[in-house]
């Protein structure tokens, strides 16, 4: 099935259209035919959200009729009671049992019509009610991720790191920062962090300079600023 704008934007229509075959020839149906069978409007229109249960029922009913099945034959094949099948086609899901059954019935019905369940995915939110129990929040992870090293050091390092090192080295520093934080507290962790960053900058800058060579002169004349900062950090006492 090709779309007018040739995109997968309306993947719901795509999924529905892909499985529909002509009952006798087995060929893919034309756009017009799919539209007639499913009653789902123009294919270049953006589908409405959320899809109503009624639409699902109509869709299933038309598909069933296009395949030439009766309610009774579906009932015989699937074992689902006729009343339930009719209720599904009316979009009257309140008649069906609660919870998972509701979805399972539709699933079985759809499988009988060889509709892939992926095509029904958008409908499920419309027919299911909130039966999922709220999960207790996992505090251990949340607390850990709250501890973040100062951004400044990260930015400084970013200037001199290769693309590959950015992920691993900054991740390493963050991992150790969290560790120091948990063992010695925030102040020690910060001092440790800045000491690490500035100690790391020295070889990183040296490497960058060795690569360029041009800025060597500049470094020679401004390096003392860096030395002062380093000395200041080294003078801070770790607890």
């Amino acid at each position: 099935v090709r779309f007018r704008d040739n995109s997968l934007r309306h993947s719901r229509w795509h999924a529905i259209g892909a499985f529909l075959r002509h009952p006798s020839t087995g060929r893919a149906l034309s756009l017009r035919r799919i539209q007639a069978v499913t009653g789902m409007g123009m294919f270049h229109e953006k589908p409405r959200e959320p899809v109503s249960p009624k639409e699902l029922g109509v869709f299933l009913k038309r598909t069933r009729m296009a395949r030439g099945h009766s309610i009774y034959s579906i009932h015989l094949h699937t074992g689902i009671q006729k009343e339930y099948l009719e209720a599904i086609e009316r979009g009257d899901f309140a008649v069906l049992p609660l919870g998972l059954y509701r979805r399972t019935f539709v699933d079985i019905y759809a499988r009988e019509l060889s509709i892939p369940s992926a095509a029904l995915q958008p409908f499920y939110e419309a027919i299911s009610e909130a039966v999922e129990l709220p999960q207790p929040p996992d505090n251990s992870v949340a607390v850990k991720t709250e501890i973040k090293p100062p951004r400044l050091g990260e930015y400084l390092l970013y200037l001199f790191l290769t693309k590959r090192e950015r992920v691993s080295l900054i991740g390493d520093i963050e991992e150790e920062y969290v560790d120091v934080y948990e063992r010695f507290g925030r102040r020690s962790a910060k001092i440790w962090y800045y000491k690490q960053v500035f100690d790391s900058l020295r070889p990183l800058i040296r490497r960058a300079l060795a690569k360029t060579g041009v800025v060597l002169w500049l470094w020679k004349h401004t390096g003392w600023i860096y030395e002062h900062v380093l000395q200041f950090i080294n003078n801070l006492k770790l607890k």
Binding site: K144, S168, L169, G171, D172, E174, E176, V178, P203, L204
Partner: protein, 116 residues
């Protein structure tokens, strides 16, 4: 450089290569840095570890691959390192050179304070 075709190792390169070898499957930035700090007693920055690792990898002494990401790392993946056969050869060679150099050393003055 006179030694370009030989397996030449600098001092920190040697230490790092040994650390990578000894840590086996757990050789990544944090563990390497800590291991070296504990074993040598020198403070080592993660930056110098990484620049040296890059040099070693460039020479083909070690190889690396991306590992898992954990929440403490801000979702950033680890990079694990593994020693390769040129690295092993380099270690052997360095050891031989050291042994030769030390073999003739007698009567090195003891300045005190250092363990024998």
């Amino acid at each position: 450089m006179a030694n370009q075709d030989r397996f030449y190792l600098g001092e920190f390169e040697e230490i790092l290569l040994l650390a990578v070898f000894r840590l086996k499957d757990d050789a990544y930035g944090v563990s390497l840095r800590r291991f070296i700090e504990e074993e040598t007693g020198r403070s080592t920055s993660i930056g110098s570890v990484y620049t040296t690792l890059e040099r070693l990898e460039h020479k083909g002494y070690i190889s690396s691959w991306q590992g898992e990401a954990t929440p403490e790392r801000g979702g950033r993946a680890k990079r694990y390192f593994k020693i390769e056969s040129p690295g092993v050869r380099a270690l052997h060679e360095t050891r031989t050179i050291r042994a030769k150099m030390w073999a003739g050393v007698t009567g090195l003055p003891d300045l005190g304070g250092l363990p024998a």
